[in-house]
């Protein structure tokens, strides 16, 4: 008897849940939901995609989607009116500024280069870095270190960190990344592997310098500049760039302005940090 009762109770609870779920779904649909489509840079995507659910919770009836298209396609579709806000990891071209597009900086992107403590050098130039990660320089003695094979440690291909490093360091020098590298899936794993693999070198979001040093690795200067938020803001540190959202004309009210304001708020900047980028202060 007990079992039967339990079953009835279970079935009752399930059907009640189903009814409620349906009910709430309907009320959501019957409300005045407005859809917004943003899109563009894949580097900006993790920030915006983490910000969207939080923003939607605070603004019922607003649905936002972000299409990962790449900065240039995003900016083009913004001009065409397909998107109402575009994410960009590059500066606007003069023609785009003339067309009335307005960029707002939402975050800074800077990468540190870290090595195992067995590596004797403390600085690399951008050209040396590019050659090392393209697999053209494979021995530390070619850049002034001891005679030992360079062990590359990189991030997975779909991570923003991989994308940023490739675009800032390699693409500009028309080089492609070497596949002969240990692939780490997250910053912690990368830091642990740099610390434990002799003669290794890797890159990591600048916000994570401390986990490199805590694990026992060493952060290099690049072109003689140490990676720091200040050096990124002043533009001295070379592996850096700003991330923008671009709007068609200055933002005046509307969900787009609210969303950008949210990104610039303390909560939004915390999401920036969570997404492994440097917040603006």
């Amino acid at each position: 008897m007990k079992k039967t009762l339990m079953m009835i109770a279970l079935v009752g609870a399930l059907s009640a849940a189903a009814v409620f779920a349906q009910g709430s779904g309907e009320s959501g649909a019957s409300g005045s939901t407005k859809n917004y489509t943003f899109g563009g840079s894949s580097t900006v995507a993790p920030i915006v995609n983490s910000a969207i659910p939080v923003f939607e919770d605070a603004n019922p009836g607003v649905k936002i989607s972000y299409e990962t298209l790449g900065s240039s396609v995003g900016i083009k579709q913004l001009q065409e009116g397909t998107l109402s806000l575009a994410g960009s990891s590059r500066e606007l071209k003069p023609a785009e500024v003339d067309a009335g597009l307005v960029p707002t900086t939402i975050a800074l992107d800077g990468l540190s280069v870290a090595v195992n403590s067995s590596v004797s050098i403390s600085n690399l130039t951008m050209d040396q870095l590019a050659a090392i990660f393209a697999g053209e320089i494979t021995n530390w003695k070619e850049v002034g270190g001891k005679d030992a094979k360079i062990e590359l440690i990189v991030r997975d291909e779909t991570s923003g960190t991989y994308g940023s490093f490739k675009e800032i360091v390699l693409d500009s020098r028309k080089k492609s990344p070497s596949v002969n590298a240990i692939v780490a899936r997250e910053n912690g794993e990368l830091a642990a592997k740099i610390a434990s693999t002799p003669n290794s070198i890797g890159y990591i979001g600048m916000a994570f310098n401390h986990i490199i040093t805590e694990a026992g690795g060493k952060v290099l200067t690049v072109d003689g500049v140490a990676p720091s938020s200040d050096a990124v803001k002043s533009g001295e540190y070379p592996i850096s760039r700003a991330l923008y959202v671009v709007s068609k004309g200055p933002l005046q009210g509307g969900v787009e302005k609210d969303f950008v304001d949210f990104l610039l708020s303390a909560k939004g900047q915390a999401i920036v940090l969570d997404s492994e980028f440097i917040p603006l202060d």
């Binding site: 079992k3 291909e157 991570s159 596949v179 002969n180 590298a181 240990i182 592997k193 693999t197």
Partner: protein, 298 residues
């Protein structure tokens, strides 16, 4: 009056029995439904990829550059790495596991047996991420110092896997060795055979199908393992040329790119999962057919 009461209580009882049985059946169906849903989901997500990438390129190209221009989705290196890692790990673990199973089934007594059994159980219960960390701290440096390279290698992954599949192979083999009838042992000893001859010529051959099942189950575990090999295999998407070169297995590939992948790249990961799924399914069919054949022989 009396009869009526009896009848209604009979009816109530049979209703209770029947509803109880239906309830149990529903619970049993949950697992069947889950398997069906999972396979449906994987295939639904994975199949669209073949609209963009030909099957031959997917299976036979060793070029995996999902963010390249144009992108390329070839998983031949990963199939090969999975094969090598699985084969090597079984090569390392089977002799040890078999010997341990024989010892446990034929010789171990009292405290020794208890301690052995509980440590093997413990081995099975350790989360795979712990094996991975152990691998980074101990196996990788050992491989680096012994064989050269950076240590992150198919060999390191195989060693970790060999340890991980030990409990599976030991437990299933031990059960099947125990199941060999005592009359066989007695007959063998009565013929003047030593205990080594009895074990190697009579007991182990008689437990053959169970031992093969054990190895196939271990194989399934090795093919499917992810977290531990991910940490020690190097994960470079290259075609491994030796056991000490880095490599990426099928499971590693799925996990590595899953977080941010989209579009064709995402369905390529699901297609990788499809292949893995079909492979595991085939292995299970092998196990089923072995145990059916041995039952028919018995």
């Amino acid at each position: 009056m009396m009869g009526k009461g009896l009848l209604s209580s009979d009816r109530a009882r049979s209703f209770k029995e029947r509803s109880g049985r239906v309830f149990l059946l529903l619970c049993a169906l949950v697992s069947v439904a889950t398997v069906l849903l999972i396979s449906l989901f994987i295939f639904q997500q994975g199949l669209p990829m073949f609209g963009d990438v030909p099957v031959s390129q997917f299976l036979f190209s060793a070029d995996w550059r999902p963010s390249g221009d144009p992108p390329s989705y070839g998983i031949a290196s990963f199939i090969y790495a999975s094969f090598v890692v699985t084969f090597l790990s079984l090569l390392l673990s089977t002799p040890i596991a078999l010997a341990a199973a024989i010892y446990l089934a034929e010789f171990a007594k009292g405290r020794t047996a208890t301690i052995l059994r509980s440590s093997i159980e413990l081995l099975a219960g350790i989360p795979s991420i712990i094996y991975g960390l152990f691998g980074i701290a101990v196996i990788v440096p050992a491989v680096r110092n012994t064989f050269g390279g950076n240590g992150y290698s198919l060999l390191a992954a195989s060693i970790i896997l060999a340890i991980m599949v030990l409990p599976t192979i030991i437990n299933v083999s031990e059960v099947s060795i125990r199941a060999v009838g005592d009359e066989l042992r007695q007959a063998s000893v009565a013929m003047g055979a030593t205990s080594w001859q009895t074990i190697s010529r009579v007991v182990v051959p008689a437990a053959r199908s169970g031992i093969i099942t054990a190895i196939v189950l271990g194989l399934g575990r090795a093919v499917g393992e992810t977290a531990a090999v991910l940490l020690v295999g190097g994960n470079a998407p290259i075609f491994p040329t030796s056991p000490i070169s880095m490599g990426r297995t099928l499971t590693m590939n799925i996990v590595t790119d899953m977080s941010y992948a989209e579009g064709t790249h995402m369905s390529a990961l699901f297609a990788t999962a499809m292949l893995l799924f079909v492979f595991i399914l085939a292995l299970n069919l092998v196990v089923v057919s072995i145990s059916r054949r041995s039952r028919m022989e018995a």
